[in-house]
């Protein structure tokens, strides 16, 4: 007695692809649009099943994929929540510099410059915006155990961060990506990085207190939100004399 599938709202789901993908797309849309904000719960699985008119198992499959993507987290007995980048999460998900022994540590961040400008060609290409669009450029020095180890140069499209001032930026009480999320509703989901070895020179060398010609690791990172939309360009220079950039490929253990 397999009942014919009835939709609570047939218009919600159009055929052609699996139902769970449709559901997933709707949930993604809701999160990206800020309908459920970071840290908030989405409706219960039973509620979603009723709303979309599908079985709970189908909802679970859609939610599973968003959990795997990092957009949602489940908490048994409580609900399913939009991933919040507060505290440690982002730090240990996207910050990859470790000590020689492999130990992770929290960096202390100091902002040394904050200015408005127009995107140059490289920035425009990386951020998928037009040349000469307004951007904010920020330079931070990150110290580990009191020693400056990283110089970060951020470029942010002003259009995505309206009203961002140095005061707001430096007054944040948490990670930068948490600021993106809590104030601007931007959820960083992925990063794309290019690494190269360079030589210390000029201001960066001075900030890191290394002689010119010292080797530095350059990391060029683009942070992406839903639909692979770029939201931040970050060029880091890392003194790897006493630290390393840590990286792992392939999931799970077993």
């Amino acid at each position: 007695m397999t009942a014919p599938p009835t939709r609570a709202d047939p218009a919600l789901l159009r055929p052609g692809r699996p139902l769970y993908e449709e559901v997933r797309a709707h949930l993604t849309e809701g999160i990206a649009a800020g309908r459920w904000k970071a840290g908030e719960a989405i409706p219960s699985e039973a509620g979603l099943a009723a709303h979309f008119g599908v079985a709970i198992g189908t909802i679970r499959k859609a939610v599973d994929s968003l959990v795997a993507q990092g957009a949602l987290v489940r908490r048994q007995g409580k609900g399913t929540f939009v991933t919040a980048h507060d505290g440690r999460r982002l730090m240990f998900h996207f910050f990859h510099v470790v000590g020689e022994d492999g130990a992770k540590a929290y960096p202390e961040v100091r902002t040394v410059s904050f200015e408005r400008a127009r995107a140059d060609a490289a920035e425009a290409a990386a951020l998928a915006i037009a040349r000469d669009e307004r951007v904010v450029r920020i330079r931070n020095v990150l110290a580990l155990a009191g020693e400056p180890v990283i110089v970060d140069d951020l470029t942010l499209p002003s259009a995505l961060f309206p009203g961002l001032t140095e005061r707001i930026f430096t007054a944040r009480d948490n990670t930068i990506y948490h600021l993106f999320q809590s104030r601007y509703g931007i959820n960083v989901l992925r990063t794309d990085e290019r690494l190269r070895a360079t030589l210390a020179a000029g201001a960066i060398g001075a900030l890191l207190r290394v002689p010119a010609g010292s080797p530095l690791l350059e990391v060029r990172r683009v942070a992406l939100t839903f639909r692979d939309r770029p939201v931040e360009l970050r060029v880091s220079h890392v003194n790897t004399a006493r630290h390393a950039y840590h990286n792992t490929f392939g999931k799970g253990d077993a």
Copy 2:
């Protein structure tokens, strides 16, 4: 009328953790032990369900996790197969050097030295073997578009690669990890990497044809198989003047 769960072979599954984890562990064990070799099909889902005495959905959940881990691949209508590292798979899963434009290319590999030795302290620690255990050290130069770009120094525990000779190593017609798999039944599932910037010197600089003092990217990689057992230490030096190391964090798009 929920029938009491009956096991075809109750001894196969002990309680205490979810059934799908038990099933997964059994499958993992079978693959790691070489019961199903790379490229071969495991039993059908229906067959596994009958064998373990569980529902097909439970089998699917176990297989799902192994697919996510990269140990198995599904092919609709054909079966589920142990991942084979032949051809492109490993290449683009674990080889991360790209051109300035982001284009990937196949490297040409040339072996410049092959010798037997005893593990030094660093190698022993990385490979979780005793000091002075027998190892094989291999140095390769990888060229992209005819230009030498990478020097790879591999250290392999001899115990895992019995009878490995330079002739066998250089006569392979595929990637190195494919050789591991096809000849020694070793499936590389994960890698753990530490990156730093260094300066060219000595033989490595000469092989890469760069002047002493040029910046090089150093990648120290440990390749792991099931149960996070280390099987290879690889220290790479990359000339990033015209290439970059590419890296992506966070899964999926949407």
